[in-house]
Symmetry: C2
Subunit: 421 residues, 2 copies
Amino acid sequence: MAAKKRTARKTAGKQTAKKKTARTTARKTPARKAGGKRARRRRVALAGKRSKATKKIDDLTLELIHDQAREVHQDILKLRKPDLEFPVRSLANVSYSEKRGYFEIGKQKKQRTLTVNTVRNFAQTLRMMGLSKDLVEANDFATKRDAYYQSKNWEEAKFDDQTESDTVMDDIEAMFSLSGVAREQLRFVPDEGYNGAVAGRLVVLDPDRDTGRIERIDCTRFGSGAYSIPSSVEALGFETNAKFILAIETGGVFQRLQSHKFWQSRNCILVNMAGVPSRACRRFIRKLSDDRKLPVYAFVDCDPYGISNIYRTLKVGSGNAAHLSQFFCVPKARYLGVTPQDIVDYQLPTHPLQPVDVKRAKDALKNDPFFKVHKPWRRAIEQLLEMGVRAEQQSLAMWGLNYVIEEYLPAKLRNTGAFLP
Amino acid sequence: MAAKKRTARKTAGKQTAKKKTARTTARKTPARKAGGKRARRRRVALAGKRSKATKKIDDLTLELIHDQAREVHQDILKLRKPDLEFPVRSLANVSYSEKRGYFEIGKQKKQRTLTVNTVRNFAQTLRMMGLSKDLVEANDFATKRDAYYQSKNWEEAKFDDQTESDTVMDDIEAMFSLSGVAREQLRFVPDEGYNGAVAGRLVVLDPDRDTGRIERIDCTRFGSGAYSIPSSVEALGFETNAKFILAIETGGVFQRLQSHKFWQSRNCILVNMAGVPSRACRRFIRKLSDDRKLPVYAFVDCDPYGISNIYRTLKVGSGNAAHLSQFFCVPKARYLGVTPQDIVDYQLPTHPLQPVDVKRAKDALKNDPFFKVHKPWRRAIEQLLEMGVRAEQQSLAMWGLNYVIEEYLPAKLRNTGAFLP
């Protein structure tokens, strides 16, 4: 401990004693150390072995960051005020494209020009881009919180709280999203504790970050457990002969389907979203369904939260992060159930809708571009409001704990054409 | 759908048309169907193949349920009022045993005698025990919510809301806990969406519920992903040469340690608790550390929540579920960090303690039997209150994203004797 104490103090001293420009310090941050050495030795080479696809996107990301930095640098050399341009991230700059199937960010832009007033924020933005560059080179990642704490060593450019650093990160993401680069490709990953679990007819191919050797993860071989999705799924590949992906709201139903090997009898892949799916979970489902051309069926509670928060977020993204929808939403997703009509057909036990449920449902009908273009959804939500009740997916347990496996899901899967859009 | 509709209605009709005693209906609930047939055919035989250890505890559980039912039955035959006896579940009936290392339930009992006023609750208790018996026989499980919905078919004995059914379940658990049987052995599992993730030098042995064949799950082979712990871990076995278990609060730190294979360089097992550990997560760590005689080190945020909610719950259990502590707490756990002294030694960036933090810390010092008996803890909490700040485990990222792997954890692990108790 004593030795450690001294080292920590020494390092701290080193970091705070010297005043450097933001640019210079960027080269000395400890984060840089691991990958930095290798990068210096081989210049263009990237740390670790990467697949061709990963290398391609990493090269693109680095090129985009370099281009931005070069522009700023040249402006300065020519004694012009440098500026950075970001898409406006607000609902007013979002549209729903029925053809593409997700919320899209519009054409409005905001500029950040280097002035006396903006110098701190401008420097922070460049440092954050520099961190991303370091991470790509080192084949590493940082959570949003990691990035915030990393900045504590950026002297005047440090963030006072995480909302500040999150905003700068969002701006950078939005900027690069216009070139088709997602947050995870910038090597920023969410702070979420849990990213969802998977079981079933799927082999995940995960390249080792040092050796590049592919780990084959067979999701039929987890007994009663499951595969826990990592924070970043960009490098993953997939092998599967499954017929569909079943995205499930609750851990209870997932555990039942997994324990009774529903994926075996129905040749499918089960995903436990555990409520509103995390970004990693949505990106995983999206990549898997795109790569392997698999339909995605959502199985959630029949209430305005299950429909308009969980399902809608999975399918078309969320309004205030529209710059991410192209990467994270799952336009292929369709709604298996529980539908308002199921409450009638299966005589499910219900709970009365609370005022917050009614408000959420009415909001969806009135303001949500997704529900506005889909008539079957408007009818379903109106039916729910008329009945004045909601039903959970586990309410099927009234007819037997395994009724969901033996009766409900088979009946539903006989008529996938009837699923809500 | 049309065919399904008819079946659902028919079943519903069957269930509600006939009036039967609670006892008779128990035999006809759909839950019973799957395991029931086999049980009737072979009497004592249980569905599926089970390990010797599982069979032993299942036989004990069934015997205890039968004994209780027999007593009630004989009282009725002798025209005596039957009664059931439960331990009182309240803080007043809890003590902290330093020797055993967990909160223990005391000797106070409450009786539930069958009278006109208690008939519904009495019937519900017997039905819930009957459900447990069915589940053990069928080698199946029910979440708390499953059990609630299952009761919707118990006619007059149905529960009006889940708090009612949870209370009855808790009473039954407390009753059987006196004979060493845990909730998971009664086949009741929590509703939690997420049970924690594992990576590292561990092979989990999970017997297939139908064939008994052991699935070997190698937790070094998950790439950047991890093993997701199932709701019930009772049947699991373990193979490992690891030196310790590192229980981690945040997904961010877990992902970093997993991606950089900290478990390989330090020969250990990583567990992501994702906040306050779920019951399945605690039971998993407990079983693993008991079976393989492994020390458990907790790595959480340095704040009153991390110390008194996350760590204390992991180590000694929680006051209002003391009847479970003997199964779920991890008395072997020790506190690696982040300690209040680490904030000083590592010059960590901090946040001010909020009033809720101060209240929690003072409560711990004044009322919590665990902290009261451990002087080093009292000193540490007092130090935190004096400094008036808290620090997150990710704040180590200030010194470099991988400082936690390269410096902090190695320094800590050189002196495990200094860990807080």
